[in-house]
């Protein structure tokens, strides 16, 4: 939820969109979907070209120094916007929850990190509650289930927001899976460092998805979605995988993540 936005006609609030590295490299469609959703909600959206990665790989692997340097870059690049919006719960969580902690011993950047943190939002949490009048697209009648990615869920409390937004897309019906709040086994570099354990976790997750009988599985984090899509493809499932932004923006005209199409 975002507080009421200054509605003076002088200037639209400016949003800096941080597309994230995975979206940039693997699924640009999610970035364009986020752009479309934000523009439709009345924001002046800027996508800085100096963005790369939020620094989670370094941070979560114990490399605090590189994490700090990457964080500084993100903080500087996104300093000038009213809001920073991220189509990923884990990258938004990194910026909101972890950036300030990286600068315990650096008063200047602590201050900057805290400011950015207070203005940074995950995409669905940002969109939920604003632009209520905007009609969301129609979909051909189909069912979906939703995977709650861990960082978004537990660091940012994102659970009901994507569901509320998706409920406004006509044609969609929701089939909750068992244990939607349990990790899919991606975990960043975890999935390649501990492939046996990760493989077991994604197998369990995909079983829960298939048990719903849903046509699609949606989520808000590309890492988890690639993990899930990869496993679904491996077992020749026809469940298709999309990022929630793609569905909300009506940008499902390209093949789903991993290419499966039901």
């Amino acid at each position: 939820m975002v507080e009421q936005i200054d509605s003076s006609p002088v200037r639209q609030p400016r949003v800096g969109l941080f597309v994230t590295c995975l979206v940039d490299l693997f699924r640009p469609n999610v970035g364009f979907a986020a752009l479309k959703l934000l523009q439709r909600a009345g924001f002046d959206v800027v996508i800085p070209s100096q963005q790369t990665c939020c620094g989670q790989p370094a941070y979560n692997n114990g490399d605090a120094r590189d994490a700090r340097e990457i964080a500084k870059q993100v903080i500087d690049v996104f300093a000038g916007y009213d809001y920073t919006v991220v189509p990923s719960g884990s990258c938004a969580g990194m910026i909101k929850e972890h950036y300030p902690r990286l600068f315990d011993a650096d008063a200047e950047y602590y201050e900057k990190a805290t400011t950015l943190s207070s203005r940074c939002f995950e995409l669905t949490e940002f969109l939920d509650g604003i632009g209520d009048g905007a009609a969301l697209p129609e979909m051909p009648s189909c069912s979906y289930t939703y995977h709650d990615s861990c960082s978004g869920l537990r660091e940012l409390g994102i659970k009901q927001q994507p569901r509320a937004l998706l409920a406004r897309v006509s044609g969609l019906s929701m089939l909750e899976m068992q244990d939607s709040n349990v990790c899919c086994g991606f975990g960043g570099t975890f999935c390649v460092k501990y492939p046996d354990i990760s493989g077991r976790m994604v197998t369990d997750k995909v079983e829960a998805i298939c048990a719903t009988g849903a046509d699609m599985v949606l989520g808000g984090d590309l890492g988890c979605l690639m993990n899930i899509a990869g496993r679904l493809k491996r077992i020749d499932s026809t469940v298709s995988v999309y990022h929630v932004a793609e569905v909300l923006a009506g940008k499902t005209d390209i093949p789903p993540i991993g290419g499966n199409s039901s």
Binding site: P28, L35, A58, Q73, R154, P195, I197, G199, K233
Partner: protein
Amino acid sequence: MQSVAHEFKAHARRALQDTTLQHALARAKGGFIDQRRTAIEALPEFDELRACAKQIKNHTLAHLDYYLERYEAQVKADGGQVHWARGPEEARRIVIDICRAAGARRITKGKSMVGEEIAINPALEAAGFEAIETDLGEYIIQLAKEPPSHIIAPAVHKTRGEITELFYAHHRSHGINERVSDVASIVNEARSVLREAFVTADVGITGANFLVAQTGSSILVTNEGNGDLTCSLPRVHIVTASIEKVVPTLEDLAVFLRLLGRSATGQEMSSYTSIFTGPKRNADLDGPAEYHVVLLDHGRSAMLGNEFREMLRCIRCGACLNHCPVYGSIGGHSYGWVYSGPMGAVLTPLMVGLREAADLPNACTLNGRCQEVCPMGIPLPTMLRRLRMREFEQNLTGARSRWLLSIWAFLAKRPRLYQTLLRPFVRLLAIGSRGTRRSLPLARGWTQSRDFPTPQGRTFQSLYRARQRKQ
């Protein structure tokens, strides 16, 4: 026990292929989670209690020296003795000396994780004593010669069929020649065998869930009543406990007890909550003649002064294990020492060494479910991340991942170069694929159990800049 945490990966792989273990884990997991949820939903003030317990523990840890001295003074005033042990070896020696001085032969034991931490059973046996575990789960794993795989349910990895065979093999010496397979009969058989041990033991050793500074009491929470028989029947009662177990008053204790049972097993209270204060007094009908408390440090005072202090709030309820998807996949033995799951992944490296247990802090997706259910609000993912930072500083991170990470960080800090180099790389990955690849050089970790979803083709930045140029 000797740590085998350095073999984590091999043990985890074996555990994943062990169908009996997988069956036992799947069955246990659902039960613990559902029971806890039901108990907590029935207690609207759970979050307030949690905040209150956290505050009490933080206060106690900030004044730990004071409360420990007060506890010691109270124990002495009641006629008991307190022994301070810096590490496992010292603790073992103290316990063995007490047993020798008591002329003991047979020793009964209540479940004690500190007992496991100091590996007291093999030490007692090596010193010529007979040590018998009396908690059913501990008894089972003692017969199986295995370490506990869960801090509150040590034999959770065992199926009923395995226990049937284990009892059949070991109880013939007690004149029992039939296989029993239903739960009630298994419990009854253990009870009849253990009864003899209870009445003939010279020393009883138990752990403590809490120590109360105000009264010098040790608190023991069980569901089987074996703790009471271990404490009150033998001539000598030894409590093995660690220094962070102390709480200021009995009233404070009540807060923790309300959290512990619910978080552990979903019980409002465990079946037995026993308070032991000193040896038998003249007017008492029963109780031990001697009462000893062995207080173990084993790295805890160091944690008090570093970035792992919050871990000392842990009350060993096991909720983090029950909710951990990694623990649920591989079970407790994979962790290679006495503590397992998220709390074990923090404690083990701090107690047996970071090099020995280097895998444990990394074998976690940082999904945060452990922190969410922790009744003491311990930020377990943060603790694990801090251990990863220590590993990185001490060069314990694997060479390959260090190398790949440094390349990534180098590029991430140079947006122009990042875009220039990754654009063709992404294109290459996309060529000729139909959504995914079944195998990929250097990515076997990913592709062993899932396909690799390939990129759309062009990067977002290049598509977006091209679109902007057109406009």
